[in-house]
Symmetry: D2
Subunit: 355 residues, 4 copies
Amino acid sequence: MPNAAKIRARVGVLGASGYTGAELLRLLIHHQGVEIALLTAERRAGQHMSQVFPQFSPYSLPKLLAIDSVDWKKAALDLAFCALPHATTQRVIKALLASAPGTKVVDLSADFRLADPAAYARWYGHEHHAPELQKEAVYGLSEIYRSSIKSARLVANPGCYTTCAELALIPLLRAKAIDPDEIVIDAKSGMTGAGRAAKEEMLFSEVSEGFHAYGVGRHRHMAELDQEFSRAAGRMVIVSFTPHLVPMNRGIFSTIYVRGLNTSAEGLHTILCKSYAAEPFVHVLPFGEMPHTRHVRGSNMIFIGLANDRVEARAIICAALDNLTKGASGQAVQNMNLMLGFPETLGLEQVALFP
Amino acid sequence: MPNAAKIRARVGVLGASGYTGAELLRLLIHHQGVEIALLTAERRAGQHMSQVFPQFSPYSLPKLLAIDSVDWKKAALDLAFCALPHATTQRVIKALLASAPGTKVVDLSADFRLADPAAYARWYGHEHHAPELQKEAVYGLSEIYRSSIKSARLVANPGCYTTCAELALIPLLRAKAIDPDEIVIDAKSGMTGAGRAAKEEMLFSEVSEGFHAYGVGRHRHMAELDQEFSRAAGRMVIVSFTPHLVPMNRGIFSTIYVRGLNTSAEGLHTILCKSYAAEPFVHVLPFGEMPHTRHVRGSNMIFIGLANDRVEARAIICAALDNLTKGASGQAVQNMNLMLGFPETLGLEQVALFP
Amino acid sequence: MPNAAKIRARVGVLGASGYTGAELLRLLIHHQGVEIALLTAERRAGQHMSQVFPQFSPYSLPKLLAIDSVDWKKAALDLAFCALPHATTQRVIKALLASAPGTKVVDLSADFRLADPAAYARWYGHEHHAPELQKEAVYGLSEIYRSSIKSARLVANPGCYTTCAELALIPLLRAKAIDPDEIVIDAKSGMTGAGRAAKEEMLFSEVSEGFHAYGVGRHRHMAELDQEFSRAAGRMVIVSFTPHLVPMNRGIFSTIYVRGLNTSAEGLHTILCKSYAAEPFVHVLPFGEMPHTRHVRGSNMIFIGLANDRVEARAIICAALDNLTKGASGQAVQNMNLMLGFPETLGLEQVALFP
Amino acid sequence: MPNAAKIRARVGVLGASGYTGAELLRLLIHHQGVEIALLTAERRAGQHMSQVFPQFSPYSLPKLLAIDSVDWKKAALDLAFCALPHATTQRVIKALLASAPGTKVVDLSADFRLADPAAYARWYGHEHHAPELQKEAVYGLSEIYRSSIKSARLVANPGCYTTCAELALIPLLRAKAIDPDEIVIDAKSGMTGAGRAAKEEMLFSEVSEGFHAYGVGRHRHMAELDQEFSRAAGRMVIVSFTPHLVPMNRGIFSTIYVRGLNTSAEGLHTILCKSYAAEPFVHVLPFGEMPHTRHVRGSNMIFIGLANDRVEARAIICAALDNLTKGASGQAVQNMNLMLGFPETLGLEQVALFP
């Protein structure tokens, strides 16, 4: 770190004009270990970030480039954050690593999250374009795969819904304390999770003052849940999962219904408390208390609460995080910290913005 | 009805300064069968409705009275809507019916919803103050208890959460098409459901831009659900139920997870379609489509959707209504229409206000 | 009316898939004088309204057509509402009236609002495509031009900002009670005013939790204001006007700063009260009280308040209306009522939806 | 600073359970020059901050005390932030400084903002309770009174509306570039400006989806504006000022209408640019561009834009800041930095949180 403070790591953000890109910049601008060396944004190439996100007007940042104009070798990045659309991602990372094999990559898309090529093909309808990298990629759920992430070159940052549900359930599945066949995850997301592309159904007037479910029975984040829950349980796990949209900008809230296996709700709570006692970004609330998304807004925290259900042997878990921070860019910086040898919390200390 | 149009029924609204009171007036002002003969509001007694809710400025309405100043006999109401707080309600309705036994009552509080005195005492912590009326009261879920409501003197209007979940599930439970032991109801409500009392946790800045659960494991609406689901199933049913608050004014959205009993999701959908084919206020969406609360805002409709869960034998039902209309005052007017012999849809034809 | 109730007028809505189209349907579905005979929507031609706006699912409505597929003569409309984009409008109305000269038209676009061809060319950058119709068109500010509207074939429905400011100021300008050279109009609009086209800057996450001005110094509604204020004052009037966007769906709020000419603020208030004493849709609040947009939401009302400014001889006027109702589709129906000989308030009686 | 990093200044927050209190803690928790030594909150005395604002759960903070239980001498604070209600403030600061005269104070209430005892008495209806401190207090508009603030013991932090309007206008008034008799300030605020007290009119359902003006013609912030504008102009200045509430949490937006005195709009823009060229927290946008509140959310920045009005010789200025940060607690920390000799930007570097 003393050196890091002097010789900062060169990082780039590919896809800086989207919401996860802006969130990465928010966190990286004052990060003491890095310098922002390169920014790309296809449709806004040639512009300044202040034209795309005026909140960056007070800061001096590199101009936005088109990806194809970048020479990865000359760019000499220590680490690239890749916040690009599905499919494009595979092509870009393959080219980048071929040209600059020493650059590390944190990918925020879903492209490298599934380890199993067959699962990938089944969920995405085509073979993976970089199967050897798919094999190499480490799933970037920081608290669970910390040691692998530290030595990884390519980290697949988890989805926002999945981070929220997985941190709540993996310790319980590993402990075989809940029935893997009776898990219901009812998930709610703020609108930034849908990205910045102009779509009618994302207009303010379509979204405000209302609530709805989407992708019922068939959301791609299910593939990630299957993979991680099955790994944790040591057997195949398929959960009920329904995503919904909340008229707010930031936040994921998961209400999770589980059945204890010879374990009371208090017992489940104890497992979570013990699992996360030393974790700086996971806060387990006192038994019976439940989180609000607003209390983690803009922070890298996940808050988890657990209470008794009145139905015999069942418990209800609620978990809340900011989909752009712990659910995306915050965890990406956390992973960068692990990969580059910085203290894990560096640049991620912001207190939540409430109200 | 021809007569009703000429000699309008005299109706009163007790508790007109709350949100359900305002919603009753919105619906009753242009209702062709009634005249608004009496309004009460304790803290605002002596004021005009336009001081309490300025949207009524263009209308001529009776001044707000204190309840204790009303002589029920002289008031000669054909029907009173009672939108008063818990406990007060029992006292007021008892006095009203003692003094004016010919007046009919639609009560919007929870006081007369539970038929079983023991259940009441268990959930509310004290004996009912008007047990004979508790016995007399008819549960006002219009579509389910239509014929009893028609001849009732006292109707206990159901809660907003419960109307939403019960209309979605009762036909399936009656048909024994779902497992009564595996029902999870994840419910989300707009903020008007919490009423107009000034509480810190209901302030705009506490509520906007966030999402949370409350009353986890112990919400009083559960008592109503138990009663109605058990009646429908012919055996005791206890469901998992979690209410949440959404930063929007109006709307209840219930996501319900069920397991079919020898019935596919399509089969469940068919049962709902058949049950509600002739109902003017219940719209079952095509299989696989899901509702939005915004599409029922300000209307008396409930929209119900049903889709396959990817978990074997399970289905997901989503239901949406406006908590102030079908979830409270709209259903109250629907019940009044039944009780006074008006066409059931009279005064309830408004199209939803979207956007 | 007795006849109207039996033989309903045939009306069409051109451009039914936008917000003003949906609002027209909301108002027309239960209007006792009309039947909805024709609906068009280019990109959604062939679909049902319930696919475009699910709130119409419970209603039976004509399928959406492409405009070019309509034979206006055969359509035999008594009146067409035209809610189409700028420029397209001129072409369509010209063709419609050429083919079916007996059809009346209420146009909700800005295309026929400016009576002066030179002003039109200056603000829109090209000559008008139907100058003879431009001459024929009557400006549809119902309260001000009622008698001309009654006999008009083509009515140019005013803009939302302009309706709000004009109803507040025209009586004062006509009475020469305020200085025409010192008018500042600070206007705020809900998001539906921006329409349903998918634009990045209208996404929920771009708009919620923030406030901004736009079109500062150069908004096209200024042309309308110039025209109407100059007409009212009998001399040229140019005002300062700044529009802003509020994170809400519906509502225009105008804060207007004026200097009285030998007239106190109370005197100005009296002029407004007298001007609108008999108007069903204009409510002047008691002196010193100010309106809220929420109290007119979904209604055809405009609420106007006036108070003393503490600066000598100055007053502050606030006016509020629903941009989709009195600011667009409600006033369009009001104009239709005038044009077809219905009572002016028919179908427009809805009480505002608050909360 | 090297020492400050080792021996941190002891600071206290009086009134930590309100929104400005929470915002102070958000900024101070990671401030490298201070330790949070004392917190008070009358109604929550004895509780932890995490019970009042759960976002602080991950942090270790002193328990909340009742003010009367504090011995100011023993507390040995280097600086106290006072975020208490009007009137209480005067009593508390008087006692504090009597007991611990070496403690510095930044007061966030309005109690010490008016330098003129007569003006205070006129606006607040009673004599000031600590007139000698009123004389001592320095008005804490950091950019304008920097040098006096550095040596002050008691700083009266400006109001949110006033900071926004004053930073936009003071340079223009000082330069005599605008007419002091023709200033109209139309101001809009987010809801946190109204504080955390439970009032009916601040409930979510009263506020969301609507817009309104309040305090028209008579808002106490006018007294501050009068004082500062008159100081800047060297003559008495009284402006038109109307505050409004926007359904959002954070943000002040001021739209200001001015008339140039022998100075074009471009000339006015140049004056602002030059005045603030070296200011870290004031960003003047390019001529003709206007700010959004969302781009300063959670940051200590004020963004100012200026454009031509189309009315001869007039210009429109828009300014945006976060009412809790630059409009209250951020400027309070900025003032603390000046008073304690820290770099002015220390702890205030956060980038705005958008989206």
